[in-house]
């Protein structure tokens, strides 16, 4: 079936190339063409500059959550960069091979991500996406605050505002790890806010949340 299987070894990621080719090759060509419009020719990656350009063409701010969602869809590994493989993966899944189609696909993408089943995964992804160094396990408070705002700001405005405020004034934690990050997600979903009656510090909530809850209670008193 795949006549052109062994022959086309043009690019380094040739294995997947074949799969894509076997589908609508015209679509893939257009996707590749779009990629080249933003990619840095020497590295063959879309770098931050290219991403900025892309954002402006899509008419979204580069801190908009939808770019993050796009990265998620692409399963992009490195923050600020898209490889060709990732680009192909994402746009193929979105069935977008022009900039306009991509723009139109964004609302649908958002809906998909916000589905309960996907959002936890997306939330975790957002954290990993920000880990820039090889062995890095935690993210500094400043970045966390920005990330929280982007990722959870629209759905859990109050919790995010309070938590960000707390993180900024406390001194115990300089970084947040994945466990604490996910803990906050569970917190938003399981605990009513701002009364927080269901919260029990004797359970296995991360300590930072215990302190957070204590801080709010003191404020409220």
């Amino acid at each position: 079936m795949r006549r052109s299987s062994a022959a086309s070894k043009k690019k380094s990621d040739s294995v997947t190339t074949d799969l894509f080719r076997s589908g609508s090759s015209k679509e893939m060509d257009r996707i590749d063409h779009l990629f080249n419009q933003y990619a840095n020719t020497s590295s063959n990656l879309i770098d931050p500059e290219g991403v900025e350009q892309l954002c402006s063409n899509l008419e979204v701010s580069h801190t908009d959550i939808r770019i993050l969602m796009l990265a998620w869809k692409m399963k992009a590994e490195k923050q600020g960069y898209f490889t060709q493989e990732e680009w192909r993966r994402g746009l193929k899944a979105l069935r977008a091979d022009t900039i306009n189609k991509l723009k139109k696909a964004l609302p649908e993408l958002e809906k998909e991500v916000r589905r309960q089943t996907n959002f936890a995964d997306f939330y975790a992804y957002a954290f990993r996406y920000c880990l820039t160094e090889e062995k890095q396990k935690s993210i500094d408070i400043e970045t966390i605050c920005q990330l929280l705002d982007i990722v959870m700001g629209s759905t859990f405005r109050a919790q995010v505002d309070y938590f960000v405020e707390y993180l900024k004034i406390q001194n115990d934690y300089k970084v947040i790890n994945m466990d604490q990050w996910m803990g906050f997600y569970r917190f938003c979903n399981e605990i009513s806010f701002p009364d927080m009656t269901e919260y029990n510090p004797e359970l296995a909530w991360p300590l930072v949340l215990d302190s957070f809850v204590e801080w709010i209670s003191e404020k409220q008193a």
Binding site: D179, L203, L207, D210
Partner: protein, 719 residues
């Protein structure tokens, strides 16, 4: 004798006449009137009369009538004779009459049922009527007992009351009468219970309620009288206890002058013993007493703590006084537990809980662990000087200290403070090897070898150091002369960590160091010596103008002073370079030599503090009446550091414990993990829950544990 009919037929009238005569005779005998007994012939005759009347053929069979006659004999007697005779009497006389009449009735029943016996053979059986005996007994009950029992009961209770008040009563009579109550139940205890016991118990209840406030004066449990039916006794004891003790327990215990707290306050050990014995009998009766005991001891302990706080001037607590007082408190109340409270576990527990409360309180910023360590330190230091403190007193005090330590939760903190102070004792003071070893042995016995291993190592080091010193002295004998020099080699792991410094030693000292190094290298293999000059002392000869004075100073101080052997005058900076101490240490040293009590150096400018622009000169004019002067360098014993070190060790201990638990359990919910961890560590300290949580999170980050994806409250071990 004969009638118109068959002369052998006994008519009813005839028969009844015979019977009546017999009955009259019987009554007279029973009532004690002069009357000859029945002779056998009469007895048989009576029996035969009845017999004949029963077996006669109708219409002359008089069984029915005989039966009725029998019944009416009793009824008449009861109604016309027995009852009136009882009712006309009062009090004890009434009881006696009742008792007498009852006995009579019993005999009467026996006799008459013999006469009428033939009825029981066939008639009563066939007709399923009550037997003759039953008729007789029932008759008494119905016609006599039922009418008198109320009054009789009143009399009995009055008599019992009399006895309670201390008067003598006829107990045998009471017993007999109460037996009547029992027997009139005819097979059941109901009459006894309803007609007597219930009233009696009720009355007793109110009696004891009224008397409850005076129970302590009475020395014994009121005896339960023997005349009561045995069933009543437990019920009565129950009532007594309920009213005397249980219902008023709270008041009794709290009562101002006689309650438990008051007894404890006034040291009324006899009364307390009595209280124990009484409450011991009630189920759960001791619990409120133990509670009162615990509260009392806690209050006394708290008062001691407060006293110490108030007395603490400028932040320093008189721990000798306080710890002594706490030890005395413990001894005092332990005696109570063993004597008054018969060594009962409830009271041991109460004592323990009380001590655990106040023994863990901070006093003016110092933890109890620290205070106890300081107490020991002073105890051993003074022991050398104070001969009044003989060995057995010291031993006893050591025992008390070990007991107290059991109540303190931060045992590891005590260990650390103790270790630091022990180091100072061993290195600087005179120490008594026996005492040091004694306390360590006892601590080891109570808390395990790991608790004392470092401290024991330190004491052993001192012994080894002596041996080395002897060896060293032999070694240098014959070698070029060096200054007299003693070295103590410390095994690093045992001793607290001390700062080293790159002190530039005066040349004379350098030679000493080198020769010891050489000696040590011969004696041992592959050991590195780290010199802690901050702990050394030096004897210097100060050649002052008026007279030479021997100075006993620390090595640091000696290094600074010796710098002036070659130059008259040195600036701070020059000293800093020459001696190579850090600023903090140099300032301290210079202060002690130029601004304190003895000014061996003159400082320019002559201010009270050292500044980096100062310069110093040897003060040749210095003199003192003493020939030897010891110049103390204030130690930098840092409480904060000890606490920090202990906290660090605790973090490791918690980590180790958590990993150990998870390794064996594999999967465990959060709360269980925390509680098991606390349990494991409780021998040494009480871990802070927050710290445990933090360590768990740290272990998650380090990939030892992970959170269960299904259940975020559970952790899994990551192999």
């Amino acid at each position: 004798m004969s009638s118109g009919q068959n002369p052998n037929i006994v008519t009813m009238e005839k028969g009844f006449d015979l019977i009546d005569a017999a009955v009259i005779k019987l009554k007279r005998i029973l009532e004690g009137k002069p009357e000859p007994d029945f002779v056998p012939g009469e007895y048989i005759g009576n029996y035969t009369t009845v017999y004949n009347m029963c077996i006669q053929k109708p219409p002359h069979d008089w069984s029915q009538q005989l039966y009725e006659k029998y019944g009416s004999i009793f009824k008449d007697y009861a109604t016309h004779t027995v009852l009136p005779s009882i009712m006309e009497k009062h009090d004890e006389y009434m009881l006696r009459e009742l008792s007498r009449r009852w006995d009579i009735n019993k005999i009467m029943v026996r006799w008459l049922s013999r006469f009428f016996f033939y009825l029981d053979r066939y008639f009563t059986v066939r007709r399923s009527f009550p037997s003759l005996t039953q008729v007789g007994m029932t008759s008494f009950r119905d016609h006599v007992y039922n009418n008198v029992h109320f009054n009789v009961k009143q009399v009995i209770i009055a008599l019992i009351h009399k006895e309670r008040e201390g008067q003598q009563i006829d107990r045998a009579l009471l017993k007999n009468v109460l037996d009547i109550f029992v027997e009139n139940g005819i097979g059941s205890m109901k009459r006894y219970e309803d007609d007597f016991e219930d009233f009696f118990l009720q009355e007793s209840a109110s009696y004891y309620s009224r008397r409850s406030s005076r129970w302590i004066q009475e020395d014994s449990c009121p005896e339960v009288a023997h005349y009561l039916h045995s069933d009543t006794e437990p019920k009565l004891v129950d009532i007594m206890q309920t009213h005397l003790l249980v219902l008023v327990a709270k008041q009794l215990l709290e009562k101002e002058n006689s309650g438990c707290s008051a007894l404890l306050r006034d040291d009324k050990t006899d009364d307390l013993s009595r209280m124990y014995r009484l409450y011991h009998a009630i189920p759960k009766g001791l619990e409120p007493v133990a509670e009162a005991f615990r509260l009392h001891v806690t209050a006394e302990g708290n008062a001691l703590i407060k006293q110490a706080e108030d007395a603490a001037t400028s932040g320093s607590v008189e721990e000798q006084v306080l710890v002594r007082k706490i030890i005395d408190l413990h001894d005092k109340y332990m005696v109570y537990v063993m004597d008054c409270f018969q060594n009962h576990t409830l009271f041991h527990k109460a004592l323990k809980e009380a001590f655990e409360v106040f023994c863990n309180k901070k006093v003016a910023g110092s933890s109890s662990a620290e205070l106890l360590a300081t107490f020991c330190d002073n105890l051993f230091r003074k022991a050398g000087n104070d001969k009044s403190n003989d060995d057995s007193t010291i031993e006893a005090t050591i025992d008390s200290v070990v007991k107290l330590l059991d109540y303190i939760s931060d045992k590891d903190l005590f260990a650390e403070f103790y270790r630091k102070k022990q180091a100072r004792r061993l290195l600087f003071g005179k120490f008594n090897d026996d005492h040091e070893r004694s306390i360590l042995t006892k601590l080891k016995g109570q808390f395990g070898g790991q608790f004392t291993s470092k401290m024991e190592g330190m004491v052993t080091d001192m012994q080894l150091a002596k041996d080395h010193q002897t060896g060293f002295e032999e070694y240098i004998n014959g070698k070029p002369k060096v200054v007299d020099f003693t070295v103590t080699v410390l095994t690093t792991g045992f001793w607290p960590s001390y700062k080293t410094s790159d002190l530039n030693l005066p040349v004379e000292m350098v030679n000493c160091i080198e020769s010891f190094k050489a000696y040590y290298a011969i004696k041992t293999n592959h050991r590195r010596l780290m010199w802690i000059y901050s702990l050394g002392t030096c004897n210097l000869n100060g050649r002052f103008d008026s007279k030479p004075i021997e100075l006993i100073v620390s090595t640091y101080q000696a290094a600074v002073l010796c710098a002036f052997n070659n130059t008259e005058r040195l600036t701070y900076q020059e000293l800093l370079e020459q001696v190579n101490l850090n600023h903090e240490d140099l300032v301290r040293v210079l202060h002690s030599l130029s601004c304190a009590k003895y000014k061996f150096l003159n400082k320019q400018p002559a201010s009270k503090t050292i500044s980096k622009t100062d310069s110093f000169e040897f003060n040749s004019k210095f003199t003192d009446k003493m020939r030897r002067i010891k110049v103390p360098l204030p130690p930098v014993d840092d409480r904060k550091k000890v606490v920090e070190d202990v906290d660090k060790d605790r973090r490791y201990a918690i980590d180790a414990s958590l990993v150990r638990i998870m390794k064996s359990r594999k999967v465990l919910p959060h709360q269980q993990l925390v509680s098991e961890c606390v349990e494991q560590l409780s021998r040494m300290f009480k871990p802070d829950i927050k710290m445990i949580k933090k360590r768990i999170e740290d272990l998650i980050t380090r990939d030892y544990l992970e959170r269960d994806t299904e259940n975020p409250n559970t952790f899994k071990y990551v192999a």
